[in-house]
Amino acid sequence: MKLVPIVALLAGCAPDIASIHTWNNGDSREPAVIDTSDTGLFVVETRVTTTPGPDGVMHTVVDAQDALRWVGVDFDAGAAVGQLDSEPGWDLKLMRSDIALNGGVSGTGGAEALFLEGQALEAVTTAPTEGYTVDQPDDDDDNDKPELVFEVWFDYDGATHILSPHPGTFVLRSTEGRHYAIAVRSFYDTAGTSAVLSLDWKELL
């Protein structure tokens, strides 16, 4: 009998830590939450929300936290969740910091884009007529990713690992041939969560 408490000590007798904690914003492990990775990171369901802003600029938040699943955005449908299994159903897809185009190696929808470095969204009022490219296969650089037109969207701080938007505006020629000016505003939401991207955009007529 003396062995029983000894075995209990060796197996640990503390309570399950989650059972004694009151979560700030509800228990993140409720059924609506999907545990998508082996990292113990609980990720809320991916989503896209778009709200109108001043001067005809739309504000879209894309929750791209899931490192295993792309989130499509269909600008032709007002920047709604894009259907990735439908060829023209999306223009951009996002996963963590990667933004891919429905054109070239990333998709067959025929979308194209270009980057106007240093130009503010407000200053872009007409779509350039040339200079559009599509996502290319991986070249000899130091990663094994395709060469994405949107890969220049951020600057990376190696000391803090913080991503900040590189000044400039993208012009997207969508799967339906429309043109949109898009500026990435942030990689983080107000609670500091990464891979929740804020985009400001407007259609160029």
Partner: protein, 645 residues
Amino acid sequence: MLVLTLASLALAQQSDATDDDDDVEVVVVTASRSPAALGEAPVAVEVITREEIEATGSESLAELLEEQPGLQIEDTVVGQSIRMQGMNAEHTLILVDGQRVLGRKDGVIDLSRFPMDDIERIEIVKGPSSSLYGSDAMGGVVHIITKRGSEGRDVGLHVRYGTLQRLDATADVKAGTETVKHKVDLGWHSSDAWDLDESDVATTSSAFQQGDFAYGATVTPDPDVQLDFTVSYMQRRLEGVSATETGAVFDNRSIVEDSRAALGGWWTAGPKTKLTVRVSGSFFRNQALADQRGSAALDTVQVDTERLAESTIQLDHGLSAAGEHVASLGVDGLYQDITSDRLGPGKGDRQRIAVFAQDVWRIELGASTLTVSPGMRLDVDSQFGTAPTPRLALALASGDLTFRLSAGTGFRAPDFRELYLLFENPGVGYVVQGNEDLRAERSRNFNGSVEYAPTKRIGLSFQAYRNDIADLINFDIVDAPVGSNQLFQYQNIDRAYTQGFDVQARWRPRPFTLELGYALVDTLDKDLRQPLAGRVPHRVTGVAAVDLPRDVSVRTQWGYSTRRTLYADLDGDDVADPIKVPECEPDATLCTLGTLTLDARAVWKGDPVEVFAGIDNVFDTGQQTLAPTVPRFVYAGLNIRGRKP
């Protein structure tokens, strides 16, 4: 070895009980895995006795070791770590009564979780001891020897209370007869969080509550046989607030549990032969919860569980009648497993078997004694194969002088984290990945020392060392997969050396005690051609104490460290830039020279009640970024001890 420890403990206690001018020497076990008089140990051993532990007023192993010469105690985000001989934290093996301690996080065993309640003494061997202990003992060994039961009855109570609502309360009981002795130890330790930067919501350290319990029984049915049983359990709960550069704020909670049990014994099979057997088990679990404020997106619960089973059988056989030539042969077995949410496969295990042999041969050369001690250990590990670690140690004791020389090798097996980790930083999105193809780190070491001790009141020692390390495991950036910013993977990439020396002087003219230590550490990363990060190049430590009338004594301890160098890419050119820590204002001359810490303490030694008060970190040094340390801490308390023969 546990029971050998007991034999030595009894002798050590005898020595403590006698006048310190007496010639009875402290007996140590760490240098050779067999009891040996401190002066005759084949390699230099530093001993911190119970009396010295109490004189410092330390409540945790971290507090105690930070004032020791030649050791560097550092506050890190994963706890208080130790460096010996300029090596990394993971290169110091920490043992409790011969058992390996579990719970390394990023290579660090948090020394603040080891309370002083149950510790009888600490033995420190600087330099590699892999020839006796195998993996991890590349920089040295810190061996905690716990208290044992005694005859009669002995009851002690200790209470300390201070700023930060820090409370330490412990009780211990020893009781027994000539054949059976028991000890029980109970401890409670708690503190508020502290914060060096009040401009944000994050705390620098976490609040904690810790309870610990230990029981030991020693049975000596016959002078030639001894059995020993120990069990201990510690639970520590921490609560703090952290913030990331992205603005995410987390309420963090964790529960750490650490328990161990051991059963061992020795049998003197004849005048020349002793057999020692021990089996032991250890358990460590860390449950960590992070609760993001304003969102549930980054909430995590992570549970790491480690288990370890060890067994040892050792035969010591005298090859001469007078016992001056003893050969030891032994076998160690080890099984370890881990389950962790951070590991790619979720769990890992390893088995290891090792054979070790050592010869300790004392040769009388006139008035001098030469001790020759060759040793060899061969580890066979299920993860990395075999690792032979030979060592040759020579000691020459001549009058008041002792010279020691040793040459040896050390190794460290890659740990489970380095083999299997799959961790994505939830705040900013980089990935760290283990590597199953890692080899063990290896080192070659030379140590030389001279000790001069004409009386117990005067002592001088000098120790010099050189370690050459190959296959050091470190992060390297590899191709990033889609969906991540950067991928770091563990690789055997670095070669380095560490070299330096320690000098210690002790002078105790009644009623004063004066001690002085100086350590020089010189390191080089041979590939990057720059000093290794975080090493303190020069450190001076000192103790000045005086016994005053009316049983009052005052003790001050101080430490002075020159600035250390860390590396980070500050200008975005992908090249790490050196940063001197602590960081200083441009005109802060004192700061640019180094950091001075001072602890002061006064004690009234009544019987059975002792009253004490003190201040730690009098100058309140410490910086939030890169050099945090506990702010000025004022405390008072009392000890009560009753003995019945």
